[in-house]
Symmetry: D3
């Protein structure tokens, strides 16, 4: 089984981290192919960055489809271009937010999302509302760090995320925490150990859930909503 894991931003170091997390999660016999969208912003911080990342993302998906990929992970927590990807994909397509919050809803009665910047909070709130899980989401919080600080070993980004998780447990009475940025993919295990709360990383969960859907023979429906783009 071949799964494409696309990083919609153009930071290759982040792709490497993401692909490592996907490979760690993937089952036997699954080949993970990483891709970095080109011509896209270095990080996705808000609606504009998200929109500018989509054509590059779609090019990666089209390329992979031409080579016969079985399923696709869009490795960004803002779930950019998911509907568009689903139209051109044959197999299942998942973004990190959808995968992670649906997983969280299976493991705990409530969860909090911890993301990077305050500007991403309403983006994620709207996604969670659309996925129908507002009643299980205690709050979307930001650790007040730029996305790329997570790539900088000298920054205190990890500590800020840990501190925000501890605040979430204390103030939100949440039972699980979802990491709200693909760049946190390598931190889940450490953060869970440090805080004592289940911490969910979207990269691993999305990869393995796409694998699950493919293994069950399921594909993206081609009736109406996600049917292939019309030729004009």
């Amino acid at each position: 089984m071949n799964i494409l894991v696309v990083n919609p931003n153009s930071t290759v170091a982040m792709t490497r981290k993401i692909v490592a997390a996907a490979q760690k999660a993937a089952g036997t016999g699954v080949t993970i192919t990483g891709a970095t969208a080109s011509g896209t912003p270095a990080s996705i911080e808000g609606h504009y960055d998200e929109a500018m990342s989509v054509p590059g993302l779609l090019a990666c998906v089209e390329n992979a489809e031409a080579q016969g990929v079985d399923g696709i992970v869009v490795a960004c927590f803002d779930d950019p271009g998911i509907g568009a990807c689903r139209e051109i994909a044959t197999g299942p397509v998942l973004g990190l937010c959808e995968a992670a919050v649906k997983a969280a809803s299976m493991l705990a009665t409530s969860f909090t999302v911890v993301t990077t910047l305050p500007r991403s909070v309403p983006v994620i709130e709207r996604l969670v509302h659309g996925y129908g899980l507002s009643h299980q989401c205690r709050r979307v919080r930001s650790a007040q760090i730029p996305v790329l600080a997570l790539e900088d070993p000298g920054s205190n980004a990890r500590d800020k995320v840990r501190a925000e998780i501890l605040r979430a447990v204390e103030e939100d009475r949440c039972e699980a925490v979802v990491l709200g940025c693909a760049g946190m993919a390598d931190l889940a295990q450490w953060l869970s150990a440090e805080t004592g709360v289940p911490v969910i990383d979207g990269v691993g969960v999305a990869t393995r859930m796409v694998e699950a859907l493919v293994a069950c023979g399921l594909k993206t429906s081609k009736i109406n909503g996600y049917s292939r783009p019309n030729t004009k």
Copy 2:
């Protein structure tokens, strides 16, 4: 007051019709500038077309911002890239769906949306859900016509839209009808006369509502969600 009305698809004939509708609706002292996004699909039929229209749309917005525009109408009923436009805009930004369904909710206790193709139905349902108006929206229907058939005088597109409105009134018990495509902008008056139900075109309403917000001195909030894109 200067209002930009952008057609996110690349069909210039459609832009002409849209600009005419905007100009007809605009108040005294308002200058409407039309723009056609370039490098975008000829029509927006589904998520993929929508995503591919956004960079071209944003270029038009950036260009208008540089020239000091006061408000912006994104003249497509799928409300593409609205969040992204709001990040780079100073004044208010409205898409057709948001403007039209909010207007409909002020004029009737319920409404039905009539759009072009079945594939656009779930796109619009999701928008209406996000705008919080599902409880007033009886149904989103399609007249089973491609968008560009509305540009073809020889097609029976107009009749199909009229027939679908009559079905909506009969079957949905709706009190108003929202036209779910920018290409129907010139039909609202005729359809209303033919069917006896208030018919709402998004182009006029969006234009005049942006004008209303500008006239009240209101601008897009620059706190968090729609703050200007970060430089990396």
Copy 3:
């Protein structure tokens, strides 16, 4: 175009302030006619005052309809008698709450409403829920001031409203603030300057939105919900 702006309470000083705000917002060629409902409470603080204001309000609307008014603003944030007004009106009818929260939802991803007394908070929460915007409304707050304190230059009402807005920005993480009382119509600009957050006054927005609907040729639907009252 003639727009009636009715103050449903009987305090003429408040009508004057409201009409001034409406006139400031209205476009070229729009005549604003102010009216004060008679035999109604001096201020509308809660459900009882609201109910007692409606027959006087409806009399003003009937009178204006007889003279051929094009649209109507009910200048109270509790949106009293809107459905009843819509039944007897030909043109569009808007209350301040509906206009202001729908405007806020177009300018920011979230907003907080700041009203006068704690007793008005649940009234407004119920309205916002009915308009489908609970998911964008962070909180409805009160500045703990009686409505008529806003008419008393010697009171510290203005300062209390400003302080409450600052608390809203800090505690609610809202991106815009809606003023939850018609008596605050003259404060929006000052409060916005003082607090750095977009502050939305319902009087101006409702006036200009009614104008927008009228300009687009839209009227209140006469099918079912808002059809003219039955003769018995």
Copy 4:
């Protein structure tokens, strides 16, 4: 225990029927006092009638409060002025819609409301939405009869209601039916026998529920929302 049952419209024949239904439902030791609001419409068909009935209704409530009533039923399915009544009442206050749909939600997983005229359908839909029971309400239907036809023995109103209930069971797959007009109070038992589906009349249920709340020592909360009207 003294319970006031107010008919907000001015048709005394209807009050008689309502009081009979209330008395039939009331427990031992409960005195039902009927009242007909004066100066109000002969029937309540839509928002305007509803609004015009409220001052007369409130006068009845004030009068009863002065005499020490324990609880109040507002005997109209549009639940007019309930919030206002609660502000001036000491004991519990219930309208027919709230009582009946909450009762229905306890007896069946879903229900349909059958009311008189199409114009009342959206009024009731909005109430049900406000009471949080949209997910259990299959549909609000009208039997296409004016309210006062129910008072005319020569009309076929009863048969039309029966026919509509049968359609509801067939088409809506509902498990119970709520009668959506106080004027149907005498029909519940007959309709239930004729149709084989539980049929709920709001007058009986509201009366006995108010009695239940009073018996438990519960009164309308006087904190904020329903606190007594402010003196100006």
Copy 5:
């Protein structure tokens, strides 16, 4: 009229308290029969206890049905097995949570639930969501006491509940408080006097509401959802 009040847990002392509260609330001519489910947990603290209490609860209901009971109260705030009870019951069946929160929603615009342990909070939140009253429920709080501490006169459980109610009034701005455990049935009056806020006990309300439904001739619908269990 005969009403069964079943305590689904096996603590007889709690049954005694519950039956006393039910008898105090019941009207003239109503016989309350208490029952303690056997083979069930000593207290219901969470999903597992709840599930393990249901077969014993259903046995009590079957036994009472055989003897011709008119209505049933399931005296636990987690509303265990309500759907199952409704299938085998002829008359109405109510759990404490459904009865109490629906009563609260009639007496105040908002309420807070105060329960025993933190683990019960999400159970109750899910119930309130299912009953459609999330928008009136400010918060579900726990007083951090085990259920059986309420049976221990030497514990400080009562004081902890009182303190939590005071925090609810202060922090949640609620207008009423619902006691979230059957074991608090004897505290409502004292707590209301101590805190000045209406305090609602589910036992009394559920008993008297079942009585109300029975008195109105209403039974559990036997169409689909609550029809009698199929024989295999």
Copy 6:
């Protein structure tokens, strides 16, 4: 990895079919252990059957936990006792409905559930509402067949399910169909081929999703809601 797949009803033939479906879906290195709850109804048709199946189901889970199982599938579409199972389980626990509708929501913009008997329709509607997916669920339909007819090769159950799916596609405009009974686990592929719409079986999806969560190192949160049952 060891996954327990429990059939909560006592029909061993059904367990065999379920285990086969689970094994077909499971990844390399996953051992599926089937279990049939004992002392439970032969099929789960409604709330009563569901409740009576839970203690037997919990016994199977406890037994498996003692032997160190990694994750658990509760193989019934009514999701019986899921919260209770999660309290006593260490790893993830999924019911068929939750798994299948969340999967469907990832593959199509809307879906319809086709179950066996009309009495199960409201049970599933309530589950879907609780999972937050009502807005994507077009309808829950029944094929009007008893559960055990699916075990009878001589019945026309399969044909009735196929016919109901075709009606769903036609009338509901759904883009995918979820099979609403564990006994349909062997039909998904055939039904999908016959109807041309993606058909989702919960057994396979739940198994592979539990596997996904386990593979990501995720366990059921032990904070509050799903913490281990208290010892009394």
